[in-house]
């Protein structure tokens, strides 16, 4: 693989107002590339695997930073860094699931600049796609990973459609578990979409991982108070404790009363192109005691429908065990 010492030459826009950023994003559409912390962006550009005419750097827009309490829950500006989320006292006390997930992303330096908006909007992990090969996701007509010799240890168990790449985000499953809403702005105004619907799999749109369209900017994430102070569980398993992306992660929220699970949201990450909400497990544990016996029987159905590739079969028992721990913890 050729190595490139420098970034390619591109235009750079550094708006300080959301309105200006939207106007630029709308005018440039596919020719512009939105950048938050840039920690996913710069690899693509340095590798010459993707390109655009211009970077639209959102990091100077103060209005997109910070964590505010709103009438129902909290609103996190999309440019808020993962470190700021991990260290925030309101998130730590009410939504510790998100603080735990954000604190497990990459490395301290990356969390210091990487943003929540960027973490949920980053592209999928796949050696071949990120190498710049012309695979399905890159507009081509084959998949290099789902072949007998393909390196697919990190890839999907579910919902593959031509592309078998998996989502890399640690915060995305936590946001789905917390029933968050994504706030998106464009020249047409503001629209909101649930975190569950923000993430898009290859069967619906193979070239995008999110519902964001050219000209749109993710400006905030709202977390309702519905799951505040619930019983949370987050666990990420990766090859290394720092830098590495999840092989499987699980984010879960339980409302427990007298030892009985009244309701729950259980989400697994890195097992398909989007966070996978395990509604069958949620249904199975509703009204049951939150203990090892319930965990044992519910975990068995967590992987219903999984289809292992040549090298990622280990993810099936790994995912089962993480779901089991989430319920019994």
């Amino acid at each position: 693989m050729p190595s490139h010492d420098v970034m390619p030459n591109m235009e750079l826009y550094q708006p300080v107002q959301v309105e200006d950023a939207i106007a630029i994003a709308d005018r440039l559409a596919e020719r512009g590339w939105l950048v938050g912390g840039g920690q996913d962006t710069y690899g693509w550009l340095k590798d010459r695997a993707k390109s655009a005419d211009a970077l639209i750097d959102l990091s100077g827009i103060e209005a997109l930073r910070g964590i505010r309490e709103i009438s129902d829950g909290i609103e996190i500006g999309a440019l808020t860094t993962l470190t700021e989320i991990t260290d925030n006292s309101v998130i730590q006390s009410q939504f510790s699931l998100l603080a735990d997930a954000a604190g497990r992303v990459a490395s301290p330096q990356i969390r210091n600049i990487g943003t929540i908006g960027g973490n949920v909007s980053q592209d999928v992990r796949c050696w071949y796609y990120r190498r710049g090969l012309s695979c399905y996701r890159a507009g081509g007509n084959l998949c290099y990973a789902d072949t007998p010799q393909g390196m697919n240890r990190e890839h999907s168990l579910f919902e593959a459609s031509r592309c078998v790449a998996a989502t890399a985000s640690d915060t995305a499953p936590a946001l789905v578990a917390l029933d968050a809403t994504m706030v998106i702005q464009s020249l047409n105004g503001e629209r909101t979409v649930s975190a569950e619907d923000y993430f898009v799999g290859p069967a619906i749109d193979i070239e995008n991982t999110t519902d964001l369209r050219p000209g749109e900017i993710l400006t905030a994430v709202r977390i309702p108070s519905t799951w505040a102070n619930a019983t949370f569980y987050f666990e990420k398993v990766a090859d290394r404790n720092v830098w590495d992306f999840s092989l499987v992660n699980v984010a879960a929220a339980f409302k427990v009363n007298g030892g009985i699970v009244e309701d729950s949201r259980i989400v697994a990450g890195a097992v398909q192109a989007t966070p996978r909400r395990l509604t069958n497990v949620e249904n199975a544990v509703r009204g049951q005691a939150k203990n090892a016996a319930t965990a044992e029987s519910a975990a068995a159905i967590a992987v219903d429908g999984a289809r292992a590739l040549a090298h990622n079969g280990f993810k099936i028992p790994l995912m089962q065990n993480l779901v089991k721990r989430a319920i019994s913890a």
Partner: protein, 195 residues
């Protein structure tokens, strides 16, 4: 031959001419960019190690590139150049970041401290540097500038960290020699917890 023309200077000369060629292309792109609102100006003032100086910066140039090839601050090392090793760690407004993965245009309103800026004005080593020497922390030394920056940032915010807190703070800096324990001991020594 001029005895002052050391090997390092000769190599720098070659790199500079390469950079100049790239810059002329960048100038063309930047002049286009200035037609729109919020487009970045090429000539910016950078506050590096307490000194502000004007630098001509390409629109998509990384801070590591600017430090090494424009400002001659070669203490900052470029290891992987993609945020996976930590050798290029610098402090931006006191916070450790990978300078290979930050655009120089992003730091124009901020204070940057590189490894050249941690010692005292009279040349006395920073407590972290002195402790790393005592602990024989560096082996090959390539990751050391980044390790120093991460340790300095930690001690600025947390003067008496636990061993676990040091491990966490240095976890974004790879050392392929495996001298991690030396760096952790050095950081604890700098904090006065190992005499």
């Amino acid at each position: 031959m001029n005895s002052k023309l050391t090997r390092r200077r000769f190599i720098k000369g070659v790199i500079f001419s390469g950079a100049a060629a790239t810059t002329s292309t960048g100038l063309y792109l930047a002049s286009n960019a200035q037609s729109g609102q919020g487009a970045a100006e090429r000539l910016i003032n950078l506050n590096i190690n307490g000194r502000t100086r004007p630098v001509d910066v390409m629109p998509s140039e990384t801070l590591a590139y600017t430090l090494r090839y424009k400002l001659d601050l070669t203490g900052t090392k470029i290891g992987c150049n993609r945020g996976e090793c930590g050798a290029c760690t610098v402090l931006i407004n006191g916070i450790p970041n990978y300078s290979c993965s930050v655009l120089t245009h992003n730091v124009k309103d901020k204070a940057v401290i590189s490894i050249e800026g941690v010692k005292d004005a009279d040349g006395t080593l920073h407590a972290v540097q002195a402790a790393f020497v005592t602990e024989n922390a560096p082996q090959c030394g390539f990751c050391t500038p980044g390790q120093v920056m991460s340790a300095v940032a930690l001690l600025n915010n947390n003067p008496r960290p636990s061993r676990q807190e040091v491990r966490q703070a240095l976890s974004g800096n790879l050392c392929r020699c495996g001298a991690y324990e030396h760096y952790i001991n050095g950081t604890l020594r700098a904090s006065g917890q190992i005499a």
